[in-house]
Symmetry: C2
Amino acid sequence: MAKQQTAISPTRSEDYPEWYQQVIKAADLAEASPVRGCMVIKPWGYALWENIQRVLDGMFKATGHENAYFPLFIPKSFLEKEAEHVEGFAKECAVVTHHRLEAGPEGGLVPAAPLEEPLVVRPTSETIIGAMYARWVQSWRDLPILINQWANVVRWEMRTRMFLRTTEFLWQEGHTCHATAEEAMEETRRMLDVYADFAENYMAMPVIKGEKTAGERFPGAVTTLSIEALMQDRKALQAGTSHFLGQNFAKAQEIKFQDQEGKEAFAWTTSWGVSTRLVGGLLMTHSDDDGLVLPPRLAPVHVVILPIYRNDDEKRVVLEFAERVKREVAAQQYDDRPVQVKIDDRDLRGGEKAWQHIKRGVPIRLEIGPRDVQGDAVFVGRRDRAPKEKAGVGRSEFVATVSQTLAEMQQGLFDRALAFRKEHTRTIDDLNEFKAFFTPKNAEEPEIHGGIALCHFHDGPELKAALDELKVTVRCIPTDAPEEPGKCIVTGQPSTKRAAFAKAY
Amino acid sequence: MAKQQTAISPTRSEDYPEWYQQVIKAADLAEASPVRGCMVIKPWGYALWENIQRVLDGMFKATGHENAYFPLFIPKSFLEKEAEHVEGFAKECAVVTHHRLEAGPEGGLVPAAPLEEPLVVRPTSETIIGAMYARWVQSWRDLPILINQWANVVRWEMRTRMFLRTTEFLWQEGHTCHATAEEAMEETRRMLDVYADFAENYMAMPVIKGEKTAGERFPGAVTTLSIEALMQDRKALQAGTSHFLGQNFAKAQEIKFQDQEGKEAFAWTTSWGVSTRLVGGLLMTHSDDDGLVLPPRLAPVHVVILPIYRNDDEKRVVLEFAERVKREVAAQQYDDRPVQVKIDDRDLRGGEKAWQHIKRGVPIRLEIGPRDVQGDAVFVGRRDRAPKEKAGVGRSEFVATVSQTLAEMQQGLFDRALAFRKEHTRTIDDLNEFKAFFTPKNAEEPEIHGGIALCHFHDGPELKAALDELKVTVRCIPTDAPEEPGKCIVTGQPSTKRAAFAKAY
């Protein structure tokens, strides 16, 4: 059989990492910039991020959080206050050392006016926000503080990849401060639940909720919880984290308060964040060899109308009908908002235009030509079906069912992704089977193999060495993992729970 | 008569600059941070900024713009490409020179891993965005490009003041690219109109639209348009600017395209921005000696309900009634959204609580006690009236008229601000009168004098020297200034239009 033509080349099975880059390009989501490791998020990618922001922001506010904004710069001495924290971030700090450019001796401008203390461009904001909380908290009455910030952060990564790991990225970081450990831990779990809810119900991306092992914790955290998702190359993606920071940062920064008995106590803090990395996760969960596939709840456009005509007479009739369909579709509600519908009337070949929207992941395409107008019908293509599998549907039927169709597509994407994860999740108790699971069987598909292995484990250097060799990591100890006696898959030492192992981004 | 007690001390007439700081503090809008010149925008201030963003973003999208995101860092060589531009910003650039911190010889961490080329933290993004546009534009078919970015920027200012001039600030910057000068100039004007519409109809802040003189232009611009507002100390605030950049940046960055005749041409670009400075402008336009006054269309909360009770029985009855009022008020629409209403049930003295909301500028306060419940009424305080001028109103009447009341308050604030500006705008043709107008008459009120002087002018060094001495600037040549022959107020040289002169922020 001849190889099927696809819009994206290479395909996933041919070269998965390159396929990823090509989907970003074909969908016009983002582009590398001239600044090392920084990307430009283009309008279609940014519109997707705006939808992510809008939904998450609503969830944060519904759980009692307010937004605020803290400085981009962190004085070096602040970062140094929490030892593990600075250890974790020192290697990837962009450092501002001067506040002026002046003409240099050899022409051109050179940095001038050195700062007394260097400033780090925030890689995360625990230390600067903690310094403010220390001022704001005096009494138990001032607690809890529940604040979130939408911001850009910078981590000087050596190897970057668009959306997944960039030098600068956009994110939100929640920072909360509580009177008791229990309350702070409850907040840590609550926000992980918010992330899981968002990932599964909006991104249609099934996730495993769990706790990180000691070596994988956020620098300075007592407990790090994360959501982990399986991508189509069967690697895991850490999609969001929620940290219980104990009193580590409160002690480093003197966030103290008088408790109800009048005694002085250190506060308990948390932090939690998701970033533009989610766009990469969404892409790798659903997209196919024809480009991006968008879950309808986050799609900037739900329905694109493509008018087709050969002359001015046809144009008039077709556009009039298209406008009517647009009005009727826009009057439908999906997910508590009007269905987002656009007419694409650009002067482009019909095929080229349709393929642009396929590559960009628009859920529903409506082709409307003179014959459709005559038949009071529209010709419907769905992004979750093959590009040529299109069907004529009566106008009023389409309008009446469009919201339901979008809801079905959303559920369909989730079901497919969940089935994929189940297919590639294995409970393993034998080390050889474990090794085989994470070793490519086929030299032509070196990038796609493995999945999630649920195995007993005993954290320590021996386990780490064996995993490093296989390039596998413990993703998390799933929250829903039952207590069950067992032996570590590598060391044979006793274990009480299975962890989720995977290769990862 | 005894001095009237006010919530803010000092009052405007006692010490205007200090009054400004105290209103920010009393309204809990923002706070100085430990990072030089950077502020923390606190939840109430950020909620106001979110409303500003939401409305402006809708206006930008309604005029065909899309959002995108470009890198925080600008390579030094990019900034150097446009000579006037770099000249304008070199003195205030935060410069990143290293990408790591390492243990230093004397303990502590020191900057390590120097960058090959220093990176400037964006003071504005013409150069980095222009570099991308140069890639994206090949043909006239690729034009126009209409993009906006919401971002943080950094300008290392020597003297800072919260919201008005901070080292880091939040803003939006529109950057557009066109095939013709006419189209670019039209865009420049359109966005100034959007800003003026927003300022007057949402902020209730009357503005003068006009063109900057040569010396006041954005570095690299051919024409800079601005909106200027008069603050209560009779100084002008430049509240938004829109720049026609001609082909300056296109030539510096090689933004070229094939026109419809197949000839190669440089594109024409514009940029336009408003920032968190608007919050300072809003504050200084409406606030009084009791604190912030918010125009209802931008207020995060329209109505706050303050339940008053002395025991648990009263509490139950009062809260039940308060919840009912809340539901009914929230069911009303104001400005295409539900009226934003909150119950403040914190355990605080009633007076203290009410004053907090007065100082924060909440438009309407409802006190509800047992007697109000009995009378099916609410006790209404309006922020545009004296704190003690409260009145009982029947519940259903209040609910039925709340939207209209908010609309009236919005209009009232605008009318008052416009009357204030008219009162302090003078057409002046005599140099002595001009000097007297800008000289404090009363040594006890050195901060409050002057206003806007509409005078003929002839730009040049002689005019500038005279104005510098008076600390007065030409704010703009108003768009609606009629052509009229005259003589420059300072030099006597011929002039055809009056400009607006004022002391300024």
